[in-house]
């Protein structure tokens, strides 16, 4: 596809929302990492995040030339590559913050579990697409579940409960769009309840603690609960209009932990107030709306499945991350798409947006009613 058609068929609303979120994110990363204070490395985070945002945009534009349908044929190889990568993390990765998630490749640490989100969406969409005519019975879904379960367990083992749950969220989105019946959900729920104690045993102690702390933040005020309390103070103290950029005491004085990554939304809440948080959340809603619109208008089922999987992932990320900073979700290491610092996460999200744009570009002209 030549450049003119690409530009003509771009979903500019989606692109605008994503770029706005990325720009807000970079600004807040600057605030959270004290860009306003003199220090040797004060531009480091902002530079890296901006650089990768630009790289990714360029990459997206190039990738738009290729039809996303090519991915369907690659899905099996991607799936296997994903498993290898996750195993590699287990054996060669280095640990940080209680989890073994990174692999060092040259100068960059990458977080394979981030990229495995893309692969899971692609591979699972292809896997389901092949079986679309045979998914009427409850049991016909079990190969699909098994297909997700293997990487799910590998990620859990890292341990990265957040990413594992992202897989589950993607699966859920695809189940919904594939007509998974209500009574099937009831049955699945039954199985879930029965196997819950088993899952509890698989969890690491610190994960159990986080869940307990979620139920009672006062339980461990100096540990996991401390983060949530500080985050809620940060958001709440922003009130309607916020304390202003660089003026959030919670984030500037480092009361807020991980303020440039997982808790970036609390910085937004403190410095930009209710007006800021509402605008940010509405921008995400625009992304989701455009994503579902693309799913609705895709010319093939693979495109619909891809778009739905991508949207499901974004919804889950925003819900879990914002919910965590606001004290209504447990603490899991789920970053906020486009805003949290982290080049792996940013790249993943941008690539997924590239996929959405790609599907949109090759759609039939129908609008979401």
């Amino acid at each position: 596809m030549e450049l003119g058609r690409i530009l003509k068929r771009l979903d500019y609303v989606l692109l605008f929302a994503v770029l706005a979120l990325t720009a807000i994110g970079i600004t807040l990363i600057g605030s959270a990492t004290h860009i306003n204070l003199v220090s040797e490395d004060r531009y480091w985070y902002v530079q890296r995040q901006s650089m990768f945002a630009v790289f990714n945009l360029i990459f997206i534009f190039f990738s738009l030339r290729f039809d996303y349908r090519l991915l369907e044929d690659m899905s099996k190889r991607l799936y296997i590559f994903n498993l290898v990568m996750l195993l590699a993390v287990m054996f060669f990765g280095h640990a940080a913050l209680g989890a073994q998630r990174w692999i060092q490749i040259g100068p960059v640490s990458i977080q394979p579990s981030e990229f495995s989100k893309i692969i899971m969406i692609v591979a699972l969409s292809a896997f389901i697409n092949k079986r679309l005519d045979n998914l009427d019975s409850f049991w016909s879904w079990f190969p699909v579940f098994g297909y997700v379960l293997v990487p799910f367990l590998l990620v859990m083992k890292q341990p990265d409960l957040g990413t594992a749950l992202v897989f589950a969220a993607i699966l859920l989105g695809l189940m919904i769009i594939c007509g998974f019946k209500k009574k099937f959900f009831v049955r699945l729920f039954g199985i879930g309840v029965v196997s819950a104690p088993l899952l509890w045993m698989v969890l690491h102690d610190y994960q159990k603690m986080r869940l307990k702390v979620f139920l009672d933040p006062g339980l461990e005020p100096q540990g996991a609960g401390y983060h949530v309390i500080q985050s809620m103070i940060a958001i709440g103290s922003g009130m309607l209009t916020g304390k202003g950029l660089f003026s959030g005491t919670q984030s500037q004085l480092d009361f807020l932990p991980e303020n440039h990554t997982d808790f970036i939304f609390a910085v937004a809440g403190e410095e930009f107030g209710f007006i800021g948080t509402t605008i940010i959340l509405l921008l995400y809603l625009v992304v989701i709306y455009r994503g579902l619109n693309i799913a609705m208008n895709a010319t093939d089922d693979f495109g619909t499945l891809l778009a739905t999987g991508i949207v499901s992932m974004f919804v889950f990320h925003v819900l879990v991350n914002v919910g965590m900073t606001a004290g209504i979700m447990p603490v899991t290491g789920v970053p906020l798409p486009f805003m949290s610092y982290g080049v792996s996460s940013l790249t993943t999200n941008m690539v997924l947006i590239g996929l959405l744009l790609n599907i949109n570009m090759r759609q039939q002209k129908l609008t979401f009613k």
Partner: protein, 604 residues
């Protein structure tokens, strides 16, 4: 096509997403709008915590620079503020260590709910408590040991009614409008000079601000405002004389009780004052108590012991004890008669043992025969002064009593001074609803009946007589000094009035009072002192028990520089109970002349 077949499912996903975002925005509205103020306050409190640096209270010195009250370092245990509920496990552990009930700790926490400063739980911990808290600090998160200066009364009971004591401000006091600028638990003067001069002694607490997080961990210290130490007091009181006076009083009270002369002689008031300026040199009230007991909150056992003592150790009887002045009042009656010309110094009046109008006589019924003023006062004849009362009348007597300082406070720099009572028909009518009789005038004339005076009033009255008529305000503080010793304020002798008597009358009074302590006077035993003494005995009728004994005296009689007043509650005759105390104090101040040892040594 999926998106045709299950288009409604995509719509469902959109609706579900909108619900999720509505919940998130709703949560933001709750945190930022509904609870925004609360979280804003938390973030402010989070950021900066003001930590008080307690100002050391001013030191109190005697007139020779001896430290009477000082500060000692002590430990106080505090609880850090956090925005969570207090941990009962920690509180119970702490309660066990510092021997305070958990309820009391919770009460303290409740009282300081609005504060972000650490809450002081208990001051002046014992060394054992400090060690235990330090050893178990890991089990006691949020519990903090702070250094605090503790008030120390160097000589325990010595001069307690002068010095007073300090204690924590109670919520009740603040609610009553006292010390409203202070927080519950701040240390203030509660009694004595500690209370009267609290504003000078207290100083201004300093503070520093530190950035802390919610768990109380210090992020950084911001700025420091050093405390302004309290200003010190230099007293007029002479600790050596005070010590001696207390020793003499205690010994004599013990003697009075053990000899059977006055078994209930437990309470007494003694004050020594310089008549030339009103400077109080010693002040003793009995029984006393140890002010150190009060510094950190008195134990209920100690409090009960003080409270149950029928002789009320907490009252300063020199300023609040009201006694009939007895024969010491004859100075007033005599002055009134002389000044109004109702009698001349030379006029002789016959004491037959009883007055001719009303059969009232001397205490022991003795008859002293013909008497002039000088002899009558020296011998303390009742009949003569009944007649003086009869001649001047109660209204003039009342007027003179007021001019001699009775019936109103002296203005000494202590709280709790009483006014006493001047006998008058109006008073009798008001309180007893009875008419005034001549007998009442007779009683009033010799200081019995309705007259009541505080020992300090007697001291001021006698000082004026000794000082040729000038009345000075009694005071305990000579100057207020900064902690570097520089003088903030000098308290100058304050002349507050003049006796309404002529120089001749004064001379006569002085000479008669001198005769009291000579051969033939009621305090003849004082004739042997190294300096001549003037004085007056008194025995105040006490309807509730044995009479109170009084003695007021000054020395040297010709050029007085010390007035001593002693009142022994239920001590019996003043000459036996009170005069020996005054005598021994004079003996201490004016020691008998030693043989010239230096000269004999030279000769050898």
């Amino acid at each position: 096509m999926l998106n045709k077949k299950y288009a409604y499912r995509l719509e469902l996903l959109m609706i579900a997403s909108m619900v999720i975002f509505a919940v998130l925005i709703g949560r933001m509205a709750y945190l930022q709008l509904y609870q925004g103020d609360y979280y804003y306050r938390l973030s402010e409190g989070n950021r900066v915590r003001a930590v008080k640096i307690l100002a050391p209270r001013g030191i109190i010195y005697d007139c020779n620079g001896e430290e009477l009250v000082k500060n000692e370092p002590g430990f106080v245990v505090s609880l850090l503020r956090t925005n969570k509920k207090p941990d009962m496990v920690v509180i119970n552990k702490l309660a066990g260590i510092i021997e305070v009930s958990p309820e009391q700790i919770l009460e303290k926490i409740k009282q300081n709910e609005d504060s972000y400063e650490p809450i002081r739980i208990k001051s002046n911990l014992s060394a054992a408590m400090v060690t235990k808290i330090e050893e178990r600090s890991e089990e006691l998160p949020g519990i903090l040991l702070e250094l605090q200066s503790i008030r120390k009364y160097v000589n325990n009971e010595l001069a307690v009614h002068v010095l007073g004591y300090v204690g924590e401000v109670s919520e009740y006091e603040i609610s009553k409008g006292k010390n409203t600028e202070l927080k519950v638990g701040s240390i203030v003067g509660k009694f004595g000079l500690e209370r009267y001069y609290d504003n000078y002694l207290r100083g201004t607490d300093g503070s520093y601000r530190e950035e802390v997080d919610v768990a109380g961990r210090v992020v950084q210290t911001l700025d420091e405002l050093p405390p302004k130490p309290g200003q010190g007091l230099v007293l007029t009181v002479d600790a050596k004389l005070q010590r001696e006076a207390e020793k003499i009083v205690d010994e004599h009270l013990k003697y009075l009780r053990s000899s059977g002369f006055a078994p209930k002689a437990n309470a007494a008031a003694i004050v020594a004052i310089d008549p030339r300026n009103g400077a109080i040199k010693a002040l003793v009230s009995r029984p006393g108590f140890n002010p150190n007991l009060f510094v950190n909150g008195i134990s209920s056992k100690d409090w009960q012991a003080i409270n149950d003592n029928p002789f009320d150790p907490m009252s300063n009887k020199v300023i609040s004890g009201e006694y009939p002045p007895g024969s010491t009042f004859k100075i007033v009656t005599g002055s009134a008669a002389l000044e109004t010309g109702k009698v001349t110094p030379q006029e002789m009046i016959f004491d037959s043992g009883k007055h001719w109008l009303i059969p009232m006589g001397n205490a022991e019924g003795e008859a002293l025969g013909w008497l002039n003023f000088h002899k009558a006062l020296a011998a303390s004849d009742n009949v003569y002064f009944y007649e003086m009362g009869n001649r001047v009348g109660i209204d003039v007597l009342k007027k003179y009593a007021a001019l001699f300082g009775f019936g109103k406070t002296t203005g000494i720099d202590l709280f709790g001074e009483n006014e006493g009572i001047i006998a008058s028909p109006e008073y009798k009518m008001k309180v007893f609803d009875e008419d005034w009789y001549l007998g009442d005038t007779f009683n009033a004339a010799i200081g019995q009946g309705f007259n009541l005076a505080t020992p300090i009033q007697l001291a001021v009255m006698l000082s004026a007589v000794a000082n040729n008529g000038d009345i000075y305000k009694p005071h305990l503080v000579e100057k207020i000094v900064n902690d570097d010793g520089s003088v903030v304020k000098e308290i100058k002798p304050e002349k507050i009035g003049r006796l309404p008597v002529s120089a001749e009358t004064l001379e006569l009074l002085q000479s008669a009072l001198k005769a009291v302590a000579q051969e033939g006077g009621t305090a003849a035993q004082m004739a042997n002192l190294s300096v001549p003494v003037a004085g007056k005995t008194g025995t105040a009728e006490n309807p509730h028990g044995k009479d109170h004994g009084l003695f007021v005296g000054y020395a040297p009689a010709d050029n007085p520089n010390l007035v001593v007043v002693a009142v022994i509650d239920q001590g019996g005759f003043g000459s036996v109970s009170a005069a020996p105390i005054v005598q021994r104090i004079f003996e201490y101040v004016f020691p008998p002349k030693q043989p010239a040892i230096v000269n004999t040594q030279k000769k050898q």
